[in-house]
Symmetry: C2
Subunit: 395 residues, 2 copies
Amino acid sequence: MNNDLPKGFRAGAAAANFRKPGRDDLGLIVSDRPCVLAGMFTQNLFKAAPVQICQEILASYGTARAVLANAGQANACTGEEGLANCRETQRMAAELTGLEAHEILPLSTGVIGPQLKMDLWRETLPTLVQSLGSRDAEGFTRAFMTTDAFPKFASRELNLAGGTVRLTVMAKGAGMICPNMATMLCVALTDAAVERQQWQAMFGRAVEQTFNRVSVDGDTSTNDTILGLANGASAVEASSPADLALLEDALTAILAQVAHMLVKDGEGAKKVIHITVTGAPTEADARTAARSVGHSQLVKTAIYGGDANWGRIITAVGYSGIRVDPAAVSLKLCGIERFRQGQPVNDHLEPELTEALKADNIPVEICLGSGPGSYSFQASDLGHEYVSLNADYRS
Amino acid sequence: MNNDLPKGFRAGAAAANFRKPGRDDLGLIVSDRPCVLAGMFTQNLFKAAPVQICQEILASYGTARAVLANAGQANACTGEEGLANCRETQRMAAELTGLEAHEILPLSTGVIGPQLKMDLWRETLPTLVQSLGSRDAEGFTRAFMTTDAFPKFASRELNLAGGTVRLTVMAKGAGMICPNMATMLCVALTDAAVERQQWQAMFGRAVEQTFNRVSVDGDTSTNDTILGLANGASAVEASSPADLALLEDALTAILAQVAHMLVKDGEGAKKVIHITVTGAPTEADARTAARSVGHSQLVKTAIYGGDANWGRIITAVGYSGIRVDPAAVSLKLCGIERFRQGQPVNDHLEPELTEALKADNIPVEICLGSGPGSYSFQASDLGHEYVSLNADYRS
């Protein structure tokens, strides 16, 4: 499948040199007609200026026509001046594109604190708007990368009763990734025609099943935003229960695909830990236990080092705060059972386990008892590359 | 001040070669008379066998005469066999010392999962008991070190109305350190005579003010235990309100001294982050915010790298879950205000801040508003040394 955007969307990118020279750090997507908008945003108390403005647009209009994204500057913790600057970037882009300012969704990522370099915005926006025209997802995606090791995007087509529609998802994120939200920035586009409330509802469910179940470092950023724009340019309606179910399945699948790319690129991550908890009293308990394991520095460093130190996994379950009977708990690491009903087992399989831990994908299966609650979660490991990237991110 | 134990206590150590040959990994402290016992234990659901047995002794007897500690094997997640093994080590030590088994408090630290190597215990315990006699705190402390870079102990004397009493605290812990508990293992000894309930009460308060306010990696282990033994061998009673207050002050001060050593030695830590939160709606809110900052991988790596990336601190406050007005929040890093009432300030002091971040102790002062709640907390940074130590701890 190629990387074309859905019908009616065009993309562009330009280099404003916000932080690192010689790379695109400003991206724009424009739809040739209004899009029905869905959005989910960071739960962080300190919401970046662009997050606040996207939330305004979603609440007041529910539609949009463009996404304006930048890397290098988060425009977070920037107070009133930050909000005014963000509105000014919308206004300038509106003037250049002929859109209304409130049709332009701002997304920012980068260092927290500094005010936007407005002179660079003023200089570069005309070039950015002139660059519009590409149907390719990669250029826009590259423009909002920060510490990402690779661009993250995917497209797929699906056949509804009325014809074929297309979905494209573009995301950035490698650090500060945690539920809720799992990514700093993500844009999902489709040319299907879908009713606004149904789009937001399926979007929320799909994000909960995918992006909210991955973690790199447990830090939920000030800027995390995921937007869904459906412009209907395919002239194919998704309105029957069957078509809506097909669209939701495809949306969930493509978001899962991109979410896996995020955790795989967890800053400096080498491995992805796939945590499955079953047998919990409730799904909430299963989620608490899974996240506790996925956030444990000691588990993440052990997996990074290929150390079969399974006791750290049990320890993280134990301090997660859930209440279960320790004597009912079992654990498989890489498919090998090492803890059964509260007792260590299969000591002699340690060499096999050590060998299995060399893989890139590490399954961790925890059974907490006989309850109905289950949850799955993906986390990255924690290694030297993470420390190197984050000890001096800004320089 | 020398490193002598309080009156009536003797210590010994021996090398059982549980994990690393050529070092002492078994330690014993014996009091010449019964001690009043205080204890606090891990909140982890999976309590190691020795933790369960210490809890039994505290609940059933409230007194003890000896502490038997080992490194290299945690005896955690070891089921019924682990409990039986732990009781067998008590029984063997009782036979060799003439004490009752229930007078001997077991402490274990090391790898989770493997059963105790009982043959090595059997072989080494006679040597250990023969080694008893030292009045020095260091030998015992070295015997229960694991990844500790240095032994952690302190002594002090204080004058009560009836004469001088002595306090000695010995602790191990560098990884898996988090509230509650802050250390894996800690033993506090005094020769003061103090009533049992008063001793436990002051002990609980002193631990809450000290050990429960430090963090290395947020992982609360299966084995965390802190014991207080008061044998009265000085013949000086602490019973008047004035004397009890003096003893509690001294206990709090010495525990704070050792807790600082723990966080300073946070596995591979170079720096200690001193987080103070004020102006919170409640103390609980202040604690939640302080711990969120102290546990943030992104804050810890930035401090490690000397990066003045203060936005990560604000971010960690923002996702901590507390509810405050972002526009009322201010932050000083190394005494330099960078965020005031929700707005960034003092950009031009960045060079001074970068210079100040080279220090070993990094003050972080967060004001959340005008509420009465405050809390202070110490956390270690996160660097390459932590990853190296923990990626392959067992080999």
